[in-house]
């Protein structure tokens, strides 16, 4: 499914933080902005949402910055995306106008709710720790070598 720029930025930022995770260290938005090539001003809005979603904590002022609220193993892609993304789950009350309520019901049950459930299940199974490992694997073993 389509994930908005906000969601993608949030995930990338948070994985980047997890890569250099060690207790007590604060990371500034500017450093993340430069590392990922994302506008710092836009990241501010993203992190405002991440903070509200209790994905990160923050300290203001000089030497301040952001920190993951929990260890990478205890933060899932689902949590990150739900705190940032608006359209991750179906929030429409009526799929279709008031007529034909039995079709409404069948779609809700058989399609929309089913979809939301698998999306949630899939995303909740992915942790930041895993994503960092995946990135690491790519760094080291990414290129294919030919021995001749």
């Amino acid at each position: 499914m389509r994930i908005s720029a906000k969601g993608r930025y949030a995930l990338a930022a948070v994985v980047s933080m997890a890569q250099q995770y060690q207790n007590g260290e604060f990371i500034t938005l500017i450093s993340i902005s430069e590392k990922l090539g994302i506008s710092k001003i836009y990241l501010e809005q993203v992190f405002s949402l991440l903070k509200r979603g209790e994905i990160v904590t923050s300290v203001k002022g000089a030497q301040g910055g952001y920190q993951l609220a929990r260890i990478p193993r205890q933060i899932s892609a689902l949590e990150v995306l739900t705190s940032v993304e608006t359209g991750l789950f179906d929030k429409t009350e009526d799929t279709v106008p008031e007529k034909a309520p039995e079709i409404e019901y069948a779609l809700r049950l058989g399609v929309f709710d089913a979809l939301d459930e698998t999306v949630a299940k899939t995303l909740s199974a992915v942790t930041l720790e895993e994503l960092v490992q995946e990135a690491e694997r790519h760094k080291s073993g990414g290129a294919v070598m030919f021995y001749i």
Copy 2:
């Protein structure tokens, strides 16, 4: 996940057609429009896409209309939605600017591709036949009766 009005209308329309499915019968847009309470003019656009996606066939002129291209058991919610919905799958080439390619890779593999896969799997398992059955079940046994 959020399905657009186009997608919801398409599903509702196509389930409605499946309810009265019998070989050779053509159904007019106007009748679907009235049955579901959806603007006929808008439905025209939706059915243009459904036709391109080979979900329905059509006959022009008086006594014409639309028909399901296959029996309800052989049409999945996935096919209906892909022919109509733009954002069902991830089509972004870069999740994040060119920097940090290993994070890019981890997200693609661990999140976006994984998501697309489960969405496709879930939706392809739902057939129009099943949705019609679900609707029928709601019709008959939906209301709870109290005997006193």
